[in-house]
């Protein structure tokens, strides 16, 4: 019997480089790929930002060091329609989207996963920090060993059929261990800094990107307080996110925060810190790793990538919608972000925040 074959999505970063190395060490025949997701007007990969020609070259060099075949796959059209256009549309609708989640949902773990077999491979491997386990109940997705790097939040859409064909080998290691492993193998990505920015935003400033690509988000409008009085003006809702304090241009005795964005009128509503607190939120498009919601309604929920998980009750609201009722009122609940449910280390599933419940 021939060795199992792994398709490794290599970004050119250290995590996916080590993921590829670990699969080779585990006896897989590895095929490395980089997704070309965005391009300049000349049709070439960008030269600055995250997803660049330089990153693809790093991935290619690592694949060569590991002596595995490597290809660049063209996902520009998919990425534009499924990720970037949605990103703009969500902003125009006054929401705060997470394009990495949409990329995972619609490109990486859908289009690419569907192609894994066609490309002659058995499993799809990424450098995400999260762990996949398996027992008689099926596959589970667990937080990464390195809690600070845990990416289970952006993988909340994965279900049993995906997890059966996905491997996340670096989730078992801390980031320093990943770097040590890369250094031991002499991989050129060992000391490469972590990417922070959105891969398609070369300038590093997603607001500039949005202004350049989605003119509607630059619609000027009023800033109003909780009583509806106009207290200022802004140059576009794109500059605001729920919970934002800086850059409001408002003089007030106590700090003011963005508490709501009304896209129809390009109105930004500000309030005090306590006005940010909500008792819950409505979540749509929810999926569960196990295929069914958890038994017993109490879960821990993360409403942002960097937020702490807080206790909440999960209540079915019909039509695929769920109501999340926080045990303690929470700030910074932004429509468009994901609400992801946990029990202990296990990620149970999640969905997109439709609206806060005050």
């Amino acid at each position: 019997m021939s060795a199992p074959r792994a398709l490794v999505a290599m970004s050119g970063g250290v995590d996916s480089s080590v993921a590829a190395a670990l699969m080779v060490e585990a006896g897989y025949e590895v095929v490395g790929v980089t997704l070309k997701q965005w391009e300049g007007s000349d049709g070439e990969m960008p030269t600055s930002g995250c997803c660049t020609v330089g990153d693809a070259e790093d991935a290619r060099r690592v694949a060569a060091q590991l002596d595995v075949p490597y290809y660049v796959l063209d996902y520009v059209d998919d990425f534009r329609t499924e990720v970037v256009d949605r990103f703009g549309a969500e902003y125009m609708a006054g929401r705060t989207p997470n394009p990495c989640i949409e990329c995972n949902r619609r490109v990486r773990f859908k289009a690419l996963l569907e192609r894994t077999t066609a490309l002659g491979c058995d499993v799809l491997v990424t450098g995400h920090h999260a762990r996949i386990t398996h027992d008689e109940a099926g596959y589970h997705l667990m937080r990464a060993v390195d809690r600070a790097k845990d990416q289970s939040y952006v993988l909340h859409m994965l279900g049993q059929s995906e997890l059966a064909r996905v491997r996340l080998p670096v989730g078992e290691m801390t980031k320093p261990e990943v770097r040590e492993h890369a250094a031991r193998l002499g991989l050129r990505t060992a000391d490469k800094p972590d990417s922070q920015d959105l891969c398609f935003v070369a300038s590093g400033n997603y607001r500039t990107f949005l202004r350049d690509n989605f003119a509607e988000v630059a619609q000027p409008g009023p800033i109003v307080d909780e009583s509806g009085d106009v207290v200022g003006h802004h140059e576009g809702t794109v500059d605001f996110t729920i919970g934002q304090r800086k850059g409001l241009g408002i003089a007030a005795q106590t700090p003011r925060y963005v508490v709501d964005i009304e896209p129809a009128t390009a109105t930004v509503v500000i309030g005090r810190k306590e006005d940010l607190l909500v008792s819950g939120c409505v979540v749509g498009d929810a999926t569960f790793v196990a295929g069914a919601p958890p038994v017993g309604g109490v879960v821990a929920v993360k409403v942002r990538y960097r937020a702490k998980a807080v206790d909440a009750e999960l209540i079915a609201d019909g039509a695929g919608r769920w109501r999340v009722e926080f045990v303690d009122r929470q700030p910074g609940v932004a429509p468009g972000q994901a609400a992801v449910f946990y029990r202990g280390d296990e990620m149970l599933g999640g969905g997109t925040i439709l609206e806060p419940v005050r």
């Binding site: 990969m45 020609v53 660049v72 796959l73 066609a118 490309l119």
Partner: protein, 378 residues
């Protein structure tokens, strides 16, 4: 590995390697110098120039300008003629040209020269009348490739040249013969062209060297400025080994051409015959009556080219689709777009190109491998 991407580049011929060897060794001199070491290099280079001129049917060796490859030769031809004399002239070219020509035309356009891009039919043919209709009194250069590098359609360059000159006798006609030279007779007489670009690596010479035939008396502005080599038409220290190797490859190509057409034509035809038998819905692109013998450009409906090429690579068969960008991702081809192939169909097109090392049996072997992979993907 069965290599069927000879149109991208091919192996260096043994004659080339042998001819080049001395110039890495004791004949390493810079031909622009005055001493014996330089003179040896200079003599070899000028001898090569004479042979290149003879093989192309040029009137004089100095009509041959050695360049750093095909792209540079095309740039020198299109830009060099269009901007010669300080007055920007017009360019007429076609939608299926190599980027070296299209981007040069775009450069001329940005400098203010009028540029017209002529379309092609569904098989990639350029109609001489359409070219003639685009020529005006302002047109200074007409550039039409001898054969397309993707689908292999051979163009009626001599007829195009005659039609263009009938409208404006002053136009210069350039043909990019980079892809065609290995299998088509290319001379000043056969093409009727005033300028002809070649790239050594497409016919068994080394990479990074090419030439431009420029008929005597044509005004040419250099695109590389410097020490004034090549009568000021192309500055830069000569790549003597490359030049000598290229001309040795030209000799070998011309000597082998009839046999190449026989041997490689058999391989290509055998490939297509077997592929059609195994995959009946395969579509063969390019002009059936006038196609490079080494090219097979096919669409396999329902099978993405990118996936097929990766699977074939894994199965030990190297082929290509469209043109590769810097990252190596498969790009949608401007040639197929010009032929009216929609984007989805274009993404299912693959080019198999045979070369001088190919043997007739390669066709059947390749077809079996492609058919097996297609069966798995369907």
């Amino acid at each position: 590995m069965l290599y069927l991407d000879h149109a991208a580049t091919t192996a260096v011929r043994p004659e080339t390697r042998e001819a080049m060897a001395p110039f890495f060794d004791d004949a390493f001199g810079n031909p622009s110098g005055m001493h014996a070491v330089s003179q040896r290099a200079k003599n070899a280079m000028e001898q090569a120039r004479e042979r290149a001129a003879e093989l192309l049917g040029a009137d004089h060796p100095l009509e041959i300008v050695f360049t750093g490859g095909g792209t540079e030769a095309d740039n020198l031809a299109v830009t060099g003629v269009a901007i010669a004399g300080g007055i920007i002239g017009g360019v007429v070219t076609t939608a299926i040209e190599h980027e070296a020509v299209l981007e040069s035309a775009d450069f001329v356009s940005r400098l203010g020269g009028p540029v017209t891009i002529v379309g092609v039919d569904d098989d990639g043919r350029v109609d001489p009348e359409r070219v003639a209709a685009a020529v005006t009194s302002q047109t200074r250069i007409v550039s039409v490739m001898t054969a397309n590098n993707e689908v292999g359609t051979v163009q009626p360059v001599a007829a195009i040249a005659a039609a263009a000159r009938a409208v404006n006798p002053e136009v210069q006609v350039h043909t990019d013969a980079v892809q065609a030279y290995i299998s088509e007779e290319i001379t000043t007489a056969s093409t009727g062209a005033d300028l002809i670009a070649l790239a050594a690596h497409k016919f068994g010479g080394p990479k990074g060297v090419g030439l431009l035939y420029v008929r005597d008396g044509i005004g040419l502005e250099p695109v590389l400025h410097g020490g004034g080599q090549e009568l000021g038409r192309r500055s830069g220290t000569h790549n003597v080994a490359g030049i000598v190797g290229m001309v040795a490859a030209m000799e070998a190509t011309v000597a082998d051409r009839a046999a190449f057409r026989q041997r490689v034509g058999q391989a290509r035809d055998g490939f297509e015959h077997a592929l059609v038998a195994a995959v009946p819905d395969v579509e063969i692109n390019g002009a059936p009556e006038s196609r490079l013998v080494q090219h097979s450009h096919v669409r396999i409906p329902g099978v993405p080219a990118e996936t097929l090429l990766i699977r074939l690579d894994q199965a030990g068969l190297a082929a290509a689709a469209g043109s590769a960008c810097q990252s190596g991702a498969v790009e949608v081809s401007h040639v197929l777009a010009a032929m009216g192939v929609d984007e989805n169909a274009a993404a299912e097109c693959v080019r198999f190109s045979f070369g001088w090392p190919s043997v007739p049996d390669d066709g059947a072997v390749a077809a079996a491998r492609v058919a097996a992979t297609v069966a798995e993907l369907r």
